[in-house]
Structures are given as C-alpha cells and as structure tokens.
C-alpha cells in the first residue's frame, strides 16, 4: 500500500497529486494508520442502498393499541346506544378531562410522554433501520445481499489472529469504519502493524461490501513482563 502511494507521489505532477490523492498522500506505516477504504473493483454500477426495515413490530404494536382503544370505545358507545349504562371508566375519563387544567403536573407528564412517543414513531417511520446490516456489492442483478456487522467483525478478527505476533484483537465494526486494536507479544510493532494493514485490507475486500469501511489499526505491546 505504501509503495503504491509512494510511486503515485513521485510520478504525478504536483497539482494533479493534490487533486487526486486526497487528504493523506503521506506514508502511514509509522503511525496508527487510518487507511482510505481499499479500492474495490469499481464499475459494478452504483453503490447499494441500505436495507430498509419493514417495521413490522412497531406497526403491529401500534395497530394493536389502536385496535384496543377503538374497540373499547366502540363497545361502550354501542352498548349505551342499546340503553345500557355506560362503564365507569368513561365517566371518570370525561370527568378528569374536564377537571384538570393544562398545567396540572399529570397532564404535563402525559403530554410529554405522548410527544416523546410521537417523535420516536416519526423517527421509526423515516429512518431505514437495520443499522447492523451492511449492504454487499451486487455480483448478480437478482441477488441483493446484506452482511451482518457482527460477522464482518468476526471475519476481521479471525484474519488478524492469524498474524504472528498478535496475541489478542478487538474489532469494532461500525457502518463506515472498522477499528482494530491488537495486542502484540513479540516481533517489531511496525512489522506487526504492516502485516495487519495488508491482511485486513485484503480481508475487507473479501467481505464484498458495497461501501468498504475505512480501517484504523492500533497495535500496542503487551505490558512489560520482568
């Protein structure tokens, strides 16, 4: 990786380099590296859109609550129409609604809860959800695939553990960034990091994601032993 960037730096004229090479053309093997996402074969068409949740469970719960409220009112109103006495709760409800002023503490609490619930439902309705599912690159027009974030993290961890000198690895996978923290118990730290960078870049390519996450690698030495 650093070689290719180095050659880019030497062969291209300066203004073009500034335009093309983006924010960090310098070598980075010496520091905890923030890599550009590995350039996956572009030209497979545009990037995949995210998966949108069907929101079945919130919808089912909302429907259930609506059904219950409308059903209870319908039952009671119909039974009053049929000359039966109204249920006690309806009188009590009407009484309370007509008694309590708006600055009553319970009215305010209820209004706050309703507003918060409404805001949450609006958020549910407008956001895609399924944050843990990363869309994969399309290899066939008919097949749309998503990779669960935990699996991506697991794959990266397993690849990192195969490198000699790596004692333990923690991978934190987010939607746009994979941060890898490794603890090394022998070999030179820079060598370990270089190996990690190369292996993990390859592994990220192997994930086949539509938007490969950027990679940040931190390696540290195990605390000194005697």
């Amino acid at each position: 990786m650093s070689e290719s960037q180095g050659s880019e730096g030497t062969t291209q004229p300066l203004p073009v380099l500034e335009k093309d090479a983006g924010p960090e053309p310098l070598d980075q093997s010496a520091s905890a590296a923030d890599y550009e996402p590995p350039s996956v074969l572009e030209g497979d068409g545009g990037r995949e859109r995210r998966f949108w949740s069907a929101r079945r469970i919130p919808a089912a719960i909302t429907a259930l609550v609506l059904l219950f409220l409308a059903g209870v009112f319908l039952y009671d109103i119909a039974s009053v129409r049929a000359e039966r006495p109204p249920m006690a709760w309806r009188r009590e409800l009407a009484h309370q609604l007509a008694e309590r002023p708006l600055d009553d503490i319970w009215v305010l609490v209820g209004a706050g809860v309703a507003a918060a619930l409404g805001l949450w439902l609006l958020l549910l309705a407008t956001t895609p959800g399924l944050r843990r599912v990363l869309p994969m690159r399309r290899t066939h027009t008919d097949v749309r695939a998503g990779l669960h974030r935990d699996l991506a993290a697991l794959v990266l961890r397993d690849r990192a553990m195969e490198i000699s000198g790596v004692q333990s690895v923690r991978v934190r996978m987010r939607r746009a960034k994979a941060s890898v923290r490794a603890v090394s118990h022998f070999r030179d730290l820079d060598d370990v990091r270089a190996d990690l960078d190369a292996t993990l870049a390859e592994a990220i390519r192997g994930l086949g994601l539509s938007r490969p996450p950027s990679l940040s690698v931190h390696v540290r030495r195990l605390g000194r032993k005697g």
Partner: protein, 195 residues
C-alpha cells in the same frame, strides 16, 4: 413481505407519531405557559383538556352518534387489517413451472425451499441456511439467511450461493429470474490462537 405493506407501515406509523407529537407537544407548550393562537383548541394554561361543553357540543344532533360509531368501526377494521397483515408470514405455497409444452406444472414451495436450503447449507463455510419463498407463483422471490463460519470470505460465500444454489434452483424450476435477498450472519465462537 409485500413492498406495499412496508410503505403502509411507515406511512401509518408516521401519521400516528405526528398526531401524538402535535397533540402532546401543544398541550405541553400551552401548559408551560406558551401563548396559544386564538383558533387553537386550548386557550391558556388554565384551560382543561376537554371540557363538558366541548364534549357534548354535538350530542343532541342526529348525525353525531352514527358518525362516531362509523368512524370507530372504520378504525377497528383498519387496525385489524393492519395487525393481521403484519403478523401473517407470507409464504409461497406453490411455484408455477413452465414445462414448455403449453402446459404448466405446480411445484410445491416447500420442496423448492428445502432443496435450496440444503444446497446452500452444503456450500463451503455455511453452517446453516434458511430459505423462504415469497412473491407470486409465476414470479417467485426468495429470502435466504445464511449462518457463516468466519473462516470463509463472505464475498466468496455469496458468489457460491448465487452461482450454484440459487442458479440451480432457478434453472430447475424453469424460472426466468429468481430474485433473492440474502442476509449473512456469523456463528459466534472464541478467538483461535495460531500456535
């Protein structure tokens, strides 16, 4: 899951949310002392939520109770439909196979599902596979859930699935296309040391 239901879910949830937000927010604002416009349902912080006069304003009109009951009936029916549509698992019972001689054959959906699932489970690194058929019987779709072992590349596993299991199912059922939605999950396991 039909695409329509996804949209209906979001529109209805958003509508309910908007109503709750506006009502709750306005009561909260007026109750905390914000000035209310003259046309709004509440005047000031000493107003009540729903006074007896407001509640019984139209009670003696002949149209009032029939209207209330009709609205409630519509609400109940709508909520019931919405609930059942969300709870029902849609599965395709059978797939129409074009035999090429002007007649058709019916393939049981379960059969196609289990063939696809077992072929997918036999792929390298796939620990478990679950397949559901959806869509219409002439244009079926499939949803595949794979449990992957982390030693395979997910990209490779997806290619295998597409090129073998899904492709075989498509050709064997004589379908022009078999759109698939695939989700890959991982089987948890401890870190393995290389000694």
């Amino acid at each position: 899951m039909r695409a329509v239901l996804k949209i209906v879910n979001r529109v209805l949830i958003g509508f309910v949310g908007l109503v709750l937000l506006v009502l709750g927010g306005s009561v909260l604002a007026v109750g905390l002392g914000a000035p209310a416009p003259s046309w709004w349902i509440h005047d000031d912080r000493h107003d009540v939520l729903l006074s007896d006069a407001e509640r019984t304003r139209w009670r003696d009109d002949t149209w009032w109770w029939p209207t209330v009951i009709a609205v409630l009936v519509v609400l109940v029916v709508l909520a019931l439909w919405w609930l059942t549509a969300n709870l029902r698992r849609r599965r395709l019972a059978e797939v129409l196979v074009d035999t090429g001689d002007g007649e058709g054959a019916l393939l049981r959906g379960r059969a196609l599902e289990s063939v696809l699932a077992s072929e997918a489970a036999g792929l390298e690194g796939v620990q478990r596979a679950q397949v559901n058929l959806t869509g219409r019987r002439s244009t079926p779709k499939t949803r595949v859930r794979l449990l992957l072992a982390p030693h395979v590349n997910p990209g490779t596993a997806l290619n295998d699935l597409t090129d073998r299991a899904v492709a075989h199912a498509r050709t064997s059922a004589g379908l022009a296309s078999l759109p698939a939605e695939v989700r890959l999950k991982g089987a948890k396991h401890g870190a393995e040391r290389v000694s």
